[in-house]
Symmetry: C2
Subunit: 332 residues, 2 copies
């Protein structure tokens, strides 16, 4: 039997995440107990939330040094000791960054097979559903309204903007770098894109969103959230999805100016969510997403790296904004 | 004919508001044009928002030096040049701080007479309706949940806590000083009260709200909002009514820590409102409030000062937390 290569969290970062916080190790092959599945890890999902888990307890408990690094992945069942699962099935679960994992069946989600398999981590996975529910259920955009999304070239943001276009909105993306901004407009059909590394976001929003912002889909928090707050229209909605500007360092020191003052005077709603809050509507969401993909209304940008040993680099690069679209690592 | 005494805004405060920012002046008696009402000002309402209006444009344009100080009041019609209004009618409107005002009829609200007249500014006025809509429509508390309210001994907070008790909630008030805190528990029936001047609010909330906070009614913003954010339960609601901690000084520098991080991980909703957003439900609200007052479930604390010349002092004191319940100035 082969051994199980894994990436362990060597040390919790106190500031910026680097390669020194990980180490490649080997462990004995896990085995499935009653009610469990033995999984071969196929594609590991990289998410900014991986870094947030190192800061403390969130919707899951905080990570600890010495553990296998946590993370979601597509796993293929190679042995099932749980009813309803058979060899060859694909599942999504928190396998961690390793080649094999044994997980209780109740902690994974069975996946309908689709081609390419990578779409199960992007448009038909957490990224796509997060974009769908966060924009439509939380943000509630109406046709003709202006939607602004940050981290717009990322896995979620790139889909948010395209879904907003499907719904007839004016869409402004905020991203880092001229290349990403040009791509948002030429490839994804965004109306405007703002390069936050090159210009002052607040001033740029006056031109890009001349009628103000009705829905702001916030992936980043911090200064960009603050700039958007000052441009929100009365009764605007802020969909709080993430705060990636705050993850790769110490705990956030303070929040944006204008809170709660602007929330009162503009009667804004800020609402946080995570994707599983909307599990009951998952079927309809997947059907909508699939129909838009098939109609060519949604392009699915993916950024696939290869090799378990590259997973730390994939996350570190994601936090620096290297990726365009959904980043993942192909393990086998 | 008599002259019209008025309090003018001599100068916009750059920091803390003081008597030097006002001056007592006299003007000619105003007269009503077509469509207008000539009003004798009876009771002037003092509100923290009066100070916020000096900081810049909010839901109304910013105040300017040299103007009569703006403010809502009960006016008695002494001459009507508008259909539907007659001598002797009572109205609520932004008369400003003066003895007489001529206002377009469409900018005032006719009041049903009630005894005592002061209740038209407290429980049956902006304070009561703000408490009612902000708690019930925005906060949506359920029986058995924990509701926390800041500025709890103020005009709005004192009613919020009592309405939450009517709805079967555990109620924690945050107020400044042992006297107010004792009064909240003994007179108004709050379950717990926290003296923010004497103890650390975050630590005190662990004891006072051991099951966490489901609804936080925020009148103050700043550090107390931050302390409550860290104690909110998953899917908790923050009703954003005001930010009095931020009004009496320069513009706010930054917001609470944990925004947007905690909003995401706890899936909180923060929503701002002003009372007129719910005008369509005003009738039902007034009927509910009146039934609770008559049943002895709502006590109506009022703090009435006398004499137009004391209005600046009344506002300065309100910003320092001198009042218990609704503060107003009886003009005649």
């Amino acid at each position: 039997m082969t051994t199980n290569r894994q990436i362990q969290l060597a040390e919790l970062p106190r500031d910026k995440l680097g390669p020194e916080h990980f180490k490649l190790g080997e462990a004995a092959m896990p085995s499935a107990k009653d009610g469990e599945l033995l999984l071969r890890v196929r594609y590991i999902s990289l998410d900014a939330a991986n870094r947030a888990w190192m800061q403390g307890a969130t919707y899951r408990s905080a990570l600890e040094a010495g553990q296998v690094m946590a993370g979601g992945a597509i796993g293929e069942v190679i042995e099932s000791k749980a009813p309803g699962f058979a060899k060859g099935d694909l599942v999504f679960g928190d396998t961690g960054w390793q080649e094999y994992a044994a997980l209780p069946a109740k902690r994974v989600q069975k996946l309908e097979k689709r081609e390419p398999m990578t779409h199960l981590l992007s448009v038909y996975g957490v990224a796509g559903l997060t974009a769908y529910f966060g924009l439509l259920n939380v943000g509630q955009p109406k046709s003709g309204e202006t939607v602004v999304v940050s981290a717009a070239a990322g896995s979620v943001g790139s889909l948010v903007g395209q879904i907003a276009k499907v719904k007839g909105c004016r869409v402004v993306g905020i991203a880092g770098g001229a290349k990403k901004c040009a791509w948002l407009k030429s490839e994804l059909g965004f109306d405007e894109a703002i390069d936050y590394k090159a210009v002052a976001v607040g001033a740029a929003l006056k031109d890009a969103a001349p009628k103000g912002i009705d829905v702001y889909f916030d992936n980043v928090g911090g200064d960009i959230l603050e700039a958007c707050l000052f441009r929100m229209n009365t009764f605007g909605r802020i969909s709080c999805c993430g705060a990636v500007s705050q993850y790769d360092g110490q705990a956030p020191r303070h929040g944006p100016r204008g809170i709660p003052g602007l929330i009162v005077t503009k009667r804004l709603t800020m609402r946080g969510f995570i994707v599983t809050d909307f599990d009951a509507e998952r079927g309809k969401a997947l059907a909508d997403l699939e129909s838009w993909v098939k109609a060519g209304k949604l392009k699915v940008p993916e950024d696939v790296m290869t090799g378990l040993e590259n997973t730390p680099r994939a996350l570190i690069g994601l936090l620096a904004g290297d990726n365009i679209g959904k980043r993942m690592v192909k393990v086998v």
